[in-house]
């Protein structure tokens, strides 16, 4: 029996999806529940499992293709199953009658009128009617998106969604799925969510895999070194306090030290273009703009969304842009292009009390700035012992592009801005 592999509709507003990568080749045998391909929506990457065991007979769409939801993108089936041909060909071939499995299939596949009417079984309609449920609110899980009895019942009482594999293991081990929170879309329970052996092997999430790949690439291609510099944050703190109320009134957002660091970094980068560069083969590309990436840690992993053209922003605009992208990252509402095109990255671990660390460059950038916690430290100034709010900046550089002197000058510039924020007004 031939089973269609479709681009799933993974959310009410999903219109189309992109195939990231087929994990199987045509002709490969796939077990039910095995990962067949990976797709990406405008929000997240998802792995699509095989609905049934069988051979991947044909891929209709390929890696990188973007297709509307519910489109057939491939076929699973037995080795000798014939893949349905396109409807046009079927109409042309309809006169030819042969005794074969496809004979019935051809007969039954007609070119019906397309309609927007809801496809639901009589049983689903009856229950919906009896419990005053609007069928347009119900997601159909049957063939062609048909709404079945179970879909309406689940709409009334959320079903426990789980992968076939998770369900089988739970059945075998007598695990109650209703007591488990799923990690997948809509709380779908994966095998990994089951409370099995305490020391277990956890397959890497997609995001994890990407982080691993990119960090390894960066670490092993770029010869790096890190420069640390202590900054007296006294004036930055008072600057923040002075403008806080004003900006709050204007924008409804709270100014943070990070915002000041970002602004100062942007200013410094425009003055030290080699730090805002990237290596392209044997050429160094110097950017005349700053696309500033922020490293944002989530429970699932790390994302580096980009604030575009930060150099053109006023301080207020930068505060708004930074807050917006932070909020949308945390709620996973970023578009894929917001994760690309950075020229420099800032990573702040200050909120965790970290005083010094060694960031790894976010390729293809040639440098990354690590921002740390502000600590009251004992410092000597003109022979006197003073207590000051100090912060260490850690700049990791790609030595292929930048030498120590350039990196040091950049850090000095930045330190100068942070210790005297008023200078930033000079342009």
């Amino acid at each position: 029996m031939v089973i269609e592999v479709i681009m799933p509709k993974a959310g009410m507003d999903m219109q189309e999806g992109q195939i990231v990568k087929w994990m199987k080749n045509e002709g490969d045998y796939v077990k039910q529940g095995e990962i067949l391909l990976e797709i990406t929506t405008d929000k997240v990457n998802m792995e699509i499992e095989a609905e049934a065991s069988g051979y991947l007979l044909k891929k209709l769409k390929h890696d990188g293709d973007t297709v509307p939801v519910i489109t057939t993108i491939g076929y699973l089936g037995d080795k000798d199953d014939k893949v349905p041909e396109s409807e046009v060909e079927i109409l042309n071939d309809k006169k030819e009658v042969e005794i074969s499995k496809s004979y019935t299939a051809i007969n039954e596949k007609e070119n019906y009128i397309k309609t927007d009417k809801i496809r639901a079984t009589p049983a689903a309609r009856k229950i919906a009617r009896d419990s005053s449920i609007d069928l347009s609110d119900v997601r159909g899980s049957g063939p062609k998106g048909r709404i079945q009895k179970i879909d309406v019942e689940n709409h009334k009482m959320p079903e426990i969604k789980s992968t076939p594999l998770a369900k089988r293991i739970a059945n075998d081990k007598g695990i109650d799925l209703s007591a488990i929170g799923g990690s997948g879309y809509d709380g779908k329970i994966f095998k990994e969510d089951l409370p099995l052996d305490a020391s277990k092997s956890i397959p890497m999430s997609n995001m994890r895999k990407i982080i691993a790949k990119r960090m390894t690439e960066s670490y092993f291609t770029a010869p790096t070194f890190t420069l640390d510099l202590d900054v007296d944050m006294t004036k930055s703190i008072s600057f923040k306090n002075e403008i806080m109320d004003y900006i709050m009134k204007e924008t409804g957002k709270k100014v943070t030290i990070t915002d000041i660091v970002l602004y100062a970094t942007t200013k410094s980068l425009m003055k030290h273009p080699y730090v805002n560069a990237r290596l392209d083969g044997e050429n160094i590309i110097i950017h005349d703009y700053v696309n500033l990436a922020l490293a944002i840690g989530l429970d699932e992993g790390l994302l580096t969304p980009v604030i575009r053209n930060a150099h053109m922003m006023t301080f207020k605009e930068l505060v708004l842009a930074a807050k917006d992208i932070q909020e949308r990252t945390k709620s996973m509402r970023l578009s894929p292009d917001e994760l690309q095109g950075s020229t420099f990255t800032v990573s702040n671990l200050g909120m965790y009390g970290i005083t010094k660390f060694n960031p790894i460059i976010n390729q293809p950038n040639s440098a990354i700035l690590g921002v740390n916690a502000i600590q009251e430290r004992v410092v000597s100034e003109n022979g006197e012992i003073k207590i000051k709010p100090m912060m260490t900046l850690c700049l990791t550089l790609d030595h292929r592009v930048i030498d120590g002197v350039i990196g040091s000058k950049f850090l000095q510039e930045l330190k100068c801005y942070l210790e005297n924020p008023a200078i930033m007004l000079l342009g």
């Binding site: 029996m1 049934a52 005794i99 004979y103 019935t104 079984t121 009589p122 049983a123 689903a124 309609r125 009856k126 899980s141 049957g142 063939p143 079945q148 009895k149 179970i150």
Partner: protein
Amino acid sequence: MIKEMTYKDAINLAMCEEMRRDEDVFLMGEDVGIYGGAFGVSVGMIEEFGEERVRDTPISEAIITGAAAGAAVTGMRPIVEIMFMDFTTLAMDSLVNQAAKMRYMFGGKAKVPMTLRCAGGSGTGAAAQHSQSLEAWFCHIPGLKVIVPGTPKDAKGLLKAAIRDDNPVVFVEQKTLYKEKGLVSFDDDFIIPLGVGEIKKEGIDVTVITYGRMLPRVLKVAEELESEGISVEVVDPRTLVPLDKEIIINSVVKTGRAVLVNEACKTGGYLGEIASVIMESEAFDYLDAPILRLAGLDVPIPYNPELEKAVVPSEEQIRTGILNVLNR
């Protein structure tokens, strides 16, 4: 007493019991006497009942059936054996225009208590003219009753009911089931009333409605699926006319899904009738998937044994069909 016996012997037993019980009952057909019938169903009967009551006839289905209809109207209870169901084409006028109509046209004053036995179905390498399943033709004629038994027990109980019925009954035996064994009651009064179906296997996930030769095939698949956690209810209407609509409708109300299986060609076949009965009934509102018909292909039965197998529903196709209706 209950004993294991073949489908063929159960039919023989039913005829013998009825002939012992009622001397108006007699059998006629081609080679039913000394030869014991083309499939050996009437073996030993001529010895017990003699040539008067087990009558060999000329090779003319029209004559045999016409004579039976006449005998029935005059008070006898003839059993006619038509060697192959395909040959009922030649008996159609007597059966359809005479036997089926008389009771109505004479305002109930004439009865036509005749039973027409015939062997239907493919699977014996007998090719296109000796393998058909034509039950739908007879179901379409008011005045005829139609039985297709799928087990030895049903064959015996239903044939006795047919012989005792005052209307013409077409009793379609299944060639490939003749040697199938099953438990059969030796009770002379064991009768299965016409129009009463049977749930051959209880289940809750999907209803499969089938009869005749496909019954054992469906039951085998149902047992396999049971071990995989899929609970299939198998309903055998046993008599197609009158049809036990209640047992079908109740089962579909329970499961919400129906797969219909028979060997006859799909187009214009009786499965379409069963599907319509479900759709027009209370069960409609409980349907949770389209009704699926698994029937023979719309082709003459091929002579080549592999092709012959390929044109009727196989176990694999039944299994796949059931899983499809369950979206599995």
